[in-house]
Each structure stands twice: as C-alpha cells, then as structure tokens.
C-alpha cells in the first residue's frame, strides 16, 4: 500500500505536468494558426507520451486521495472537480485542434488560443486556492 503522502506527492507532480501540457497545447494551436505545423507535431508527440499519462494519474491519484481522506463532503472538492473536468475536456478539444493543424486545416476559433491560456492560468490558480486554503 502506497502511503497517503506519496500518493499526494504523485498527484501534485501529475497536476503540474498536466497543466504544463495544456499550456504547451495552447501555444502549439496559436503557432499552428500562424502556419507553423512543426510545433503542433512536436507538442502532439509530447502530449501522447507525457501529458495524457499525467492526466490519467491526476484522475487516479485524485480519486484515491478524495476517497481516503473522505473529502467528498467538502464543497471545495466539488469546485475543484468541476474545474478539472473542464480542463480535461479542454485537453481533448486542443488535441483535436492539433490534429486538424497537422492535417493542414485552417482553424477558425471563437476564442483565441492566447485567451484559452489565460483561462488555464486562472483555473490553475483557483485550484491551488481551493486545495490549499479550503475556503469553503
């Protein structure tokens, strides 16, 4: 049985790698819209090898910590969970966009990737506040 603190440490490491992967995707989508398909290919490779496994670890270790610690009764966890679901969905959307860029399609987006990156930064900050300060 892995000690609780080790699972927590693995969870934090996986979250950091996952968030970094989301930023990398946004930058690659922004680069792809400017005609740079090479960055998209590079980030897609990184995504498959590193970001997706990190995302799976985030969910696996996160669920273990929440069950072990009995955190499901705490409102902050549900706030965090909603944000993580949204970030997971965003990862899927950006993966699809990168594939379209590799295919040579010209993307028409309602929200610029630069603004998406701002959203990721805000989401990461809110997650940190919810988890560390537990205001609710």
């Amino acid at each position: 049985m892995i000690p609780y603190l080790w699972i927590k440490a693995i969870h934090v490491a996986a979250v950091l790698i996952f968030i970094a992967g989301l930023f990398a995707q946004s930058v690659a989508v922004a680069a792809g819209r400017r005609g740079d398909r090479g960055t998209g290919a590079l980030v897609s490779h990184w995504d498959r090898r590193v970001t997706v496994p990190a995302m799976l670890l985030v969910w696996l270790t996160g669920a273990t910590i929440a069950v072990d610690g009995g955190w499901f009764a705490s409102p902050w966890l549900w706030g965090k969970l909603a944000i993580v679901v949204a970030l997971t969905a965003l990862h899927g959307v950006q993966s699809g966009r990168l594939r379209r860029i590799r295919r040579g399609e010209q993307l028409r987006l309602r929200i610029a990737p630069e603004h998406t990156a701002i959203g990721i930064a805000v989401a990461a900050a809110i997650i940190a506040i919810l988890v560390v300060a537990k205001p609710v």
């Binding site: 969910w59 696996l60 669920a63 997971t88 969905a89 990862h91 899927g92 959307v93 950006q94 993966s95 699809g96 966009r97 594939r99 379209r100 590799r102 295919r103 040579g104 399609e105």
Partner: protein, 118 residues
C-alpha cells in the same frame, strides 16, 4: 463514400476511431456489469464489494470515453448528429453497443478514403 467523411483523413483519425470503439465498448460493458451484477448483488444479498470495485472502474471508463469522444469530435470529420448520438449513448445502458455499428462503418469509410488517395 460516407457523406460524413468530408475531410482529408490521416492514419491518426483511424487510430482515433479505434480508441473510441474500445472506450465505447469498455464504458458500455462496465455500466452493464454495474447495473446487472453489482447493484443487484448489493440489494439482494447485501454484498457491496461489487459496487465498490465496479463503480470506480465504470467511472474511469466513462471519463475515458467522454475524453476520447471530445478529442475525436474536435479533430473534425463528424456530423453533429453523430456526436449527439454518441454522447447520448454514454448515459443509456446498451448505448455503447449501439455505437458499435456507427463506429465500424466510420472506420471503414475513413480507411477507404485513405486508400483512395494517391
């Protein structure tokens, strides 16, 4: 050629559909195991270990299916009705099995489209 394939697919798209077929099958199978085996065992015989084990497994399979569906649909080549049908299937028992035909035809159509290209 299938009307829905109105893009120039690559080998990545075939891999994507294969992943979606696998995720859909896993989601549907674990949901049935939960509803037809684990839940009756808990309520009829008070045996709750099944729900404790299959519940999280189905949760993981559901998330994997939804993520795969989002990634595939964001990659293009799917109609709105196909995406709506596959989204709905995640919430209905046997829904994932009903996806099997659609996904098999889609894969065949994309593979044929790849072969047609010089």
């Amino acid at each position: 050629m299938n009307r829905s394939v109105h893009f120039a697919p690559t080998a990545d798209d075939v891999a994507d559909i294969r992943r979606l077929r696998l995720a859909s099958f896993a989601e549907a199978t674990t949901l049935l195991a939960l509803l037809l085996v684990a839940v009756p065992l808990k309520h009829a015989f008070g045996y709750s270990a099944g729900v404790r084990i299959i519940g999280p497994v189905h949760g993981a399979a559901f998330l994997a299916y939804i993520w795969t569906l989002i990634a595939a649909s964001a990659g293009g080549g799917w109609t709105r009705s196909e995406i709506a049908r596959m989204s709905l299937a995640a919430f209905v028992p046997f829904g994932g099995f009903l996806n099997a035909g659609l996904l098999r035809r889609k894969q065949a159509s994309v593979v044929a489209s790849l072969k047609e290209r010089p």
